[in-house]
Subunit: 81 residues, 2 copies
């Protein structure tokens, strides 16, 4: 089973890296990009035999406690068989 975890900056937090990418895109002609936000993406491979419920519980705890800084970031995740 695999889990995909997406960690992004909260919308209230400035994203200078995304802003820099947007500026670069404008300079090379992609004027229709209004904003860019950058985040992190993790793929976790889980041991076979975990139930969906146990997997969800583990991934939730890993995303919340390890992969995300709750002061400035938020996360979403999805599971895939």
């Amino acid at each position: 089973m695999k889990a995909h975890v997406y960690v992004t900056l909260k919308t209230s937090v400035l994203d200078p890296q995304g802003q820099t990418i947007q500026n670069a895109l404008h300079k090379i002609g992609f004027a229709q990009v209004d904003a860019v936000r950058q985040g992190k993406y993790f793929t976790l491979s889980l041991a076979p035999g975990l139930t969906a419920e146990a997997a969800r519980d583990q991934v939730e705890r890993i995303a919340r406690d390890v992969l995300t800084n709750p002061v400035i970031e938020e996360y979403t995740y999805c599971l895939e068989d």
Copy 2:
């Protein structure tokens, strides 16, 4: 319209950062995580009025030419209204 772009290391490329996260997870008790791979995640906000086809074309070129290092990375993306 929004585009979500996911950039990951090719599976043939070692991911020491993901390996470090996996080791850390094992040390704190998440023994059922067999592997971790880390990638980048971008959200692009596109100007209203772009057709779906034009948006797809722009995002494809941005992902391929700007956001991805084709030697070691690959990308996927999806569009959202």
